[in-house]
């Protein structure tokens, strides 16, 4: 029905994407909002870090709990979901050379999310809603705390359907040629589908809770609340995982001319996510009473760990695709030449690879181990939790989002990256901060330090308890690197704002960097037939994967050994 003219589109000369101008504006709006909320959420996080740092303890408890609630919601929900909507519109429209379906609904999505986020932020800052991101009843927040989250969720849901509608249009208008959706867009479909389950669950629980806060419903059962809330709370983390994996594949292709090692394997892995990833919501209820071990074990394993298998698969196929591309382009000597000669000075690549390592080794391994039904007892609600999830959401997802932003700014905002020296360094600083922060906090957690606590010293309490000295040391180190992480985030935000507002403009039709050749094309031209060693096309990646494998196995049994020394429980 809508007719488009040539001037509605422009062509990006490097990627070849036909970019629809209205779609582009929406990508820009959502991405910009995301970065602003990252700054706000990050500043609240800095307040938290400086309070949990022994010897500093910046904020008094009441203020700390308010900051912690704000940090949780703004960083984990608002920054990330705004960015994910921008990514979905980019994948659905730009990558498919299509216009965006129903831009009016997309703008509704944007404004609902802005208003919702602002409303909840105001409720938190007014002081009566320090209930943490999880807002468990019987703790009560102000009604507009819940209403803001509901509006935000409705907006995000609309965005999901705008994306799916865009795919329908793109297929009908044949904007991307024949055949299946590109892999990264299929990843977007996976993320979007999971998001729909996630948000529907959120609405299912937050709407009654909102009504309860108004006094219209008399009671919210706290166990029911947690079961349903975590269908929203943990599944939203799965949206993050799927999105950042799609971004990894995208960056591998954009920077190296890489292609998926096997469409079947990568898409099959996404299918395992679609079917089983949401079971992970149970991870937060493993230490809960009255729920059977059968239900816990079935769900916590994501169905015989099939969704974990999917993550392990992507963990090999993403770097594997880079190795194959590098080998095809001539870097075929030895085990690791391909990675040594990778463009470590390019923040798009370095951020992506650091994200892969951080998510795999720090976030992923600890996630699998701590979600074992029995091991959960020795980590539940300790500092191990924030340590783990900064390994996944910050070292993993946020770093990947930052990396792709360095590529998106020239393409979407048509500006060169300003302060390139800062940009080059940023992924390293941010990753260093988040890696050590995560590991140190997990260390403190294994020694019992409790989470969401304003004062780990139990100052002045008659029944005083003191954590081991090492635990205090770990908190000190961890929070210092938390500050480093904040510095890394500020570096990113400064580069983004400087580039968007003052970066050198890129005239339409001109390329900000040279085109990256397809690895297959290069191999064909040079006549290279075989790559790799002994019939393995990606032996270096296989070695890395085996290092990960051995680490998981060792860590798994170390934890069971530790578990076997505590009081016997049955």
């Amino acid at each position: 029905m809508a007719t488009t003219t040539m001037s509605d589109f422009r062509v990006d000369p490097v990627s070849g994407f036909k970019i629809h101008r209205t779609a582009n504006t929406l990508v820009k709006a959502n991405a910009f909002a995301a970065v602003v909320f990252l700054l706000v959420g990050g500043l609240f996080g800095l307040g938290v870090a400086l309070t949990r740092m022994p010897g500093v303890q910046l904020l008094k408890p009441e203020m700390f709990y308010m900051f912690l609630t704000a940090h949780g919601i703004i960083a984990l929900m608002v920054w990330i979901i705004f960015f994910e909507i921008a990514v979905l519109y980019f994948l659905g429209a730009h990558v498919l050379n299509s216009r965006l379906a129903t831009p009016r609904w997309a703008w509704l999505q944007f404004w609902l999310m802005i208003i919702g986020a602002a409303m909840t932020a105001v409720a938190i800052l007014q002081g009566g809603s320090s209930v943490m991101m999880t807002s468990y009843p019987p703790l009560t927040a102000a009604p507009h705390f819940y209403l803001g989250l509901i509006l935000f969720a409705v907006g995000a849901l609309i965005g999901c359907f705008v994306f799916l509608g865009t795919l329908v249009i793109a297929k009908e208008e044949k904007t991307y040629g024949e055949g299946s959706l590109p892999l990264v867009v299929f990843g977007g479909v996976t993320a979007c589908i999971i998001a729909i389950f996630t948000i529907a669950s959120g609405a299912l629980i937050l709407i009654p809770t909102f009504l309860w806060s108004l006094g219209l419903i008399s009671h919210i059962d706290p166990m029911m609340y947690r079961i349903v809330w975590w269908a929203f709370g943990h599944s939203s983390q799965q949206i993050n995982v799927v999105t950042h994996i799609s971004i990894w594949y995208l960056i591998a292709a954009l920077v190296f001319g890489a292609k998926p090692m096997s469409e079947k394997v990568s898409r099959g892995a996404f299918l395992l996510y679609i079917l089983f990833l949401q079971f992970g919501s149970v991870h937060h209820l493993l230490s809960d009473p009255g729920l059977s071990s059968a239900w816990k074990i079935f769900n916590t394993s994501y169905m015989i760990y099939l969704a974990v298998l999917a993550s392990l698969i992507h963990g090999l196929t993403v770097p594997g695709s880079i190795e194959v591309a590098q080998r095809k382009k001539g870097m075929d000597t030895g085990m690791f030449t391909w990675i040594r000669k990778a463009p470590w000075g390019n923040p798009v690549f370095s951020g992506m690879f650091l994200s892969l390592i951080g998510f795999g080794f720090i976030g992923g391994i600890t996630g699998v181990v701590m979600s074992v039904e029995q091991i959960n007892m020795i980590i539940h609600n300790t500092m191990y939790l924030p340590g783990h999830f900064h390994g996944t959401v910050v070292a993993g997802t946020t770093m990947a989002f930052m990396a792709v932003t360095y590529w998106l700014i020239p393409v979407v905002f048509q500006r060169k990256i300003a302060l390139a020296g800062v940009a080059k360094l940023q992924p390293y600083i941010f990753s260093l901060g988040s890696f050590v922060f995560s590991i140190a906090l997990m260390g403190a957690g294994t020694m019992g330090v409790q989470r969401r606590s304003a004062d780990m010293f139990f100052a002045g309490q008659p029944l005083a308890y003191e954590y081991p000295e090492i635990a205090k040391g770990m908190m000190s180190i961890g929070e210092i690197f938390g500050v480093v992480m904040a510095v890394g985030a500020v570096m990113f935000i400064v580069v983004v704002l400087a580039s968007i507002f003052a970066g050198e403009r890129i005239p339409e039709g001109s390329a900000p960097w040279p085109k990256v050749e397809d690895a297959d094309v290069v191999a064909e031209k040079s006549g290279k037939k075989h790559i790799g060693i002994g019939g393995f096309e990606a032996p270096g990646t296989f070695v890395f994967a085996m290092i990960l494998f051995v680490t998981i196995v060792l860590y798994y049994f170390i934890n069971f050994k530790y578990l076997s020394t505590i009081w016997t429980l049955s």
Partner: protein, 51 residues
């Protein structure tokens, strides 16, 4: 390298499943709703009263 396929060969059934976004959405919503949410809620509802 790959088996030659005539233009009349349909895509593999798995490929057709993976190309069917509506089916995938249905599975992604129904499966966790049943195995995680409904099963879990049923268990909470069957917690007996304390003596």
């Amino acid at each position: 390298m790959s088996e030659s396929t005539s233009s009349s060969t349909k895509p593999h059934v798995m490929q057709r499943i993976l190309e069917d976004n509506s089916l995938l959405l249905f599975l992604a919503v129904v499966i966790p709703t049943v195995f995680y949410m409904l099963w879990g809620i049923m268990e909470v509802l069957s917690i007996p009263l304390a003596k």
